[in-house]
Amino acid sequence: MEPRIVVVGASLGGLRAAEQLRSAGWSGQIVVIGDEPHPPYNRPPLSKATLAAPGTVRESLAALTFRPKRSATDVTWKLGTAVTAADLAAGVLELDDGERITFTGLVVASGLRPARVPAPGPLAGRHVVRRLEDSLALHAELAPGARVVVVGSGFIGCEVAATAATLGARVTLIEGGLGPMERTLGPALSAGVRGLLERHGVHVIPGARVIGFRGAGRCTGVALADGTEVGADVVVEAVGSVPNTAWLAGNGLDLADGVECDARLRVVDAAGTALPNVVAVGDVARYPDGRTAGPARRVEHWATPTDTAKIAAPTLVAALAGEQTPAPEPPLPSFWTDLFNVRIQGVGSPARADRIEVFEGDPAAPATGAAVGYYLGDRLIGAVTAGLPAPRQLYYRQQVLDASAPATLATV
């Protein structure tokens, strides 16, 4: 049999994996398997531009679909097909169409699915935003004047709230234990984001817990733990994501939060030993933070699939040739969001900070321009700019790079 690498997951991570496998010199087969019917497409607009004005399905796909590199054209795409089980030792995958496919090497790029609010009540009228169809279905209900209740105030929740408000909906944003984008941006900028949302008419309810969804047949309201109820024509659940790893069960892996990897993105078993022919790419991969020497974690940013594929693909190609790549330079995480034409960009690991310093402007007023640095002890480990032109972000990014030279890679 011709050597074959199978990539499980056909979103940006699967695409970048296939491209980087070719760039790394892999000349055998590449088969990319994904459960969505579409070729890889860009997801950030699903809570922003596409949600605001999607056009037809054909138009939105034309706008969102990635252009594969010329080098990656010799790739077999098996779309609309889910992998249901894996026997990693035997090198066999089972698919939901009954087929079995063998592999020489495997790339885990199966991504995430939205978490749901763990509360009882009717499902109709409740949305999540992950796939194109989710965004189109939600857009169809965002009529001017509609009462939209967004549960969860991370990036997606805030972006959906902003887009719905821009379309004229009456929006309520229910925070959880943390303020808007607080996990990533910290408390100072989070308060600024809350103010930005409120100034644009979003009603923000801090520190709430949803205990149920009201309504007969269709959801008409959200019940909170303090006894209040928020009336809703449309509910959006944006309470985080769950890694798609069930298909890897039974192989002795640590699947507690994504798939555990070493710094080369090799999947490791529960004893911490790297598997010889399996790597992971994208936000399903939990890998060591080589820049802050922090615990292994998943990174749910748009740049992650590209960053990790550039490490994982050469790792796998070398391993299949019985070789090992040099220790890779750890990626510097980066992220952005756009809210009411205010661009927020960041790098590093602000969530690991124990101290915040305002570099310029006022984080309470992000629309007027602000920059915040994030420190772990004396070391700058992250920086975020809001409402500033890109050169300011590039300047602070370089400061973080200079300060966060790769720490010792404990698991290489």
């Binding site: 860009n42 960009q345 972000q393 590039l394 990014r397």
Partner: protein, 64 residues
Amino acid sequence: MAQQITVDRQLCDNHGQCAIAAPAVFRMNDDGILEYEDSVDDALLDEVEEAVDVCPVQAIFFRD
């Protein structure tokens, strides 16, 4: 040899990621607007490929 590239200004949102990946080709001016070289020496093509990859709106194109 040189490769011609173009940035679709309708798509470009001035994120600045290309200026990180390929600073010899792309730079952000003080107003935060992209400026770039549209004829790129082959020696820089790897960097430009990186820039294409990291552009959040996929606005950078190679011209035949």
